[in-house]
Symmetry: C2
Subunit: 213 residues, 2 copies
Amino acid sequence: MGIKLHGYPLSPAARRVAACLEEKGLEYEFVLVDLSTGQQKKEPFISLNPFGQVPAFEDGDLKLFESRAITQYIARTYADKGTPLIPTDPKKAAIVSVWSEVESNRFDATASKLSFEIVAKPLFGMITDEGAVDLNAGKLAETLDIYESRLAESKYVGGEAFSLADLHHIPIIYNLFKTKIKALFDERPNVKAWAEDILARPAWQKVLESMKV
Amino acid sequence: MGIKLHGYPLSPAARRVAACLEEKGLEYEFVLVDLSTGQQKKEPFISLNPFGQVPAFEDGDLKLFESRAITQYIARTYADKGTPLIPTDPKKAAIVSVWSEVESNRFDATASKLSFEIVAKPLFGMITDEGAVDLNAGKLAETLDIYESRLAESKYVGGEAFSLADLHHIPIIYNLFKTKIKALFDERPNVKAWAEDILARPAWQKVLESMKV
């Protein structure tokens, strides 16, 4: 049976799970879901995720979707393999949980819109909405101001050690670093150092190597 | 020291944490953060949550924010008290985690906009944007179609037992049940039965009693 990751190589959410699997050093089979032909909205994929979005995940008879639920499962189930991604101390784990929520509700809410507008739309021949870019760049700048203060207190957002809270940011920061939005990171020294550190992780390099398109 | 919940009685996110504390039968002190005077954007609150939003939470020397991180902490730390909210079986816990992400990323993303437009705006003398209501009602209907299928398979969204994944929905559903959006729930028999079940929980009744304004 083993582990299967159903996704599309360019999907940030699929890459998030792949980065987690690589941090843990786990073998897995990548099953291509071709978004260009709408496979994600049809059977058999829709039985894995009724919302019709990649990624989906299988570990033996367990079937999951939602990238951040999948990474939590991997981090807990394979706690003793590879990089520890959730602290064993419950209070430290709670802080990682807080900053995982911040990533999802505050960072990703604006950053993924920017990535969609500036990176994804041109790939699909769509026109970037510059108003949406300006609006979300302003919101992202405010969020990164708070990250700048946070990263003055600890090396990583969830504490002194790299954790799921950092890992979840990687695919979207990677996309944004190819755009003018990189300046928002570069202007903030702690944020810049943190972003460069997490993008340089060997596990992420392996994801980029295996998910070339 | 003990447990402190910093919030505003009408805040759905503060009520989410209160519901979790009540399910666990935990004593706590409610510390009012007066949103009408902007206390959430100033010290001392801003030291608890740099993003300046309620709720924040203290348990002894541990300080947390983000409602869903707080409920996870409570559920894990006080696992043996009151209602079990995260299954002990890791695979069952992973399914709860999936549907907790669905609540946050799919349900709340539209439902909280509807609650804001229809419930919160009139309270603050603002005008409801009917276009935003129609748009989000359409999206919520699509999400509830998938809930209807899910709730044909299991009594609760995360499995056969009530869990955090259900609990997180309660405050926004409570708000929407006072509006025309209730029809979207009533039209779907499994969704209707589930929503009525979780709203009737004694822990939620206690929250409503203690958070009267």
